[in-house]
């Protein structure tokens, strides 16, 4: 990857879809940036990779859940979905378990992704 950032925004998502609003509010930031024409990538790290598991329902708390938002990413032109390889391994998951097409990143890959974006927001 190049030395100077080529994309506008990297949103790092480190929380699962349930229990807190971190994932929803992180995705909201990504969608807004994309709606304003920014080039946005997502990086799922740690527990955040569980957001990409299929078969999620909104649950009993009357919250909308983030599943529908993830479906909309493509419509917003957010196509670069990166996942931390180590996180997949930690949760016993494979790339094929993810419901969207993702790019697995090694530790060096994560470092490159950080360098490759002008702005990083972590949720």
């Amino acid at each position: 990857m190049s030395e100077t950032p080529t994309a506008d925004l990297l949103v790092i998502l480190r929380h699962g879809p349930h229990g807190t609003s971190w994932l929803r509010e992180g995705l909201d930031a990504a969608l807004v940036a994309a709606a304003f024409g920014r080039e946005v990538s997502l990086l799922f790290m740690g527990e955040g990779v569980t957001a990409l598991l299929p078969g999620q329902g909104p649950g009993a708390l009357g919250q909308k859940g983030s599943s529908a938002t993830l479906e909309m990413l493509e419509m917003y032109d957010i196509r670069t979905l990166l996942v931390e390889e180590q996180a997949l391994a930690d949760f016993g998951l494979q790339v094929d378990d993810m419901r969207l097409t993702v790019i697995p990143l090694s530790t060096t890959g994560v470092a490159d992704a950080l360098k490759d974006h002008r702005l990083i927001l972590t949720f």
Partner: protein, 130 residues
């Protein structure tokens, strides 16, 4: 250098707000420009007009207001995160049929687009969260 802060921790619950405030004060003391503090997630509670902490504790809301008055730092609050948590200015309170408002100038309700703009415009965006 031009700085902006993103604050996502609730006041008096986490260290984030206290650390952010001290960092903000250090930034301006060093002669840098602090463009704005953007309040998101639970950080929006920092804008609560009715906050009344014990007198022997730092008053975070007042401290943000001082920072604005003395150094022209914009205090921008994400409107979606704020409304969910009961923070609204007079106009929003009227719109939602509420009897009082919980947020007032110099805090301003704004959108996440502002956060992205800030981040891309400033040399550094520093995040404080729980």
């Amino acid at each position: 250098m031009r700085y902006a802060l993103l604050l996502m921790g609730a006041p008096y619950s986490h260290q984030a707000s206290h650390s952010a405030l001290r960092f903000a004060q250090a930034v301006v003391a060093r002669g840098h420009r602090l463009e704005a503090v953007f309040f998101y997630h639970d950080g929006v509670q920092n804008a609560a007009r009715l906050a009344a902490p014990p007198q022997d504790e730092p008053h975070l809301v007042d401290a943000w207001v001082s920072l604005h008055r003395e150094h022209d730092v914009a205090l921008q609050v994400c409107i979606a995160a704020a409304l969910r948590r009961g923070l609204m200015d007079r106009r929003e309170a009227e719109r939602h049929g509420k009897s009082g408002h919980s947020l007032a100038a110099p805090f301003e309700l704004t959108g996440l687009g502002q956060l992205v703009d800030l981040g891309l415009r400033c040399d550094r965006l520093v995040t404080f969260g729980p």
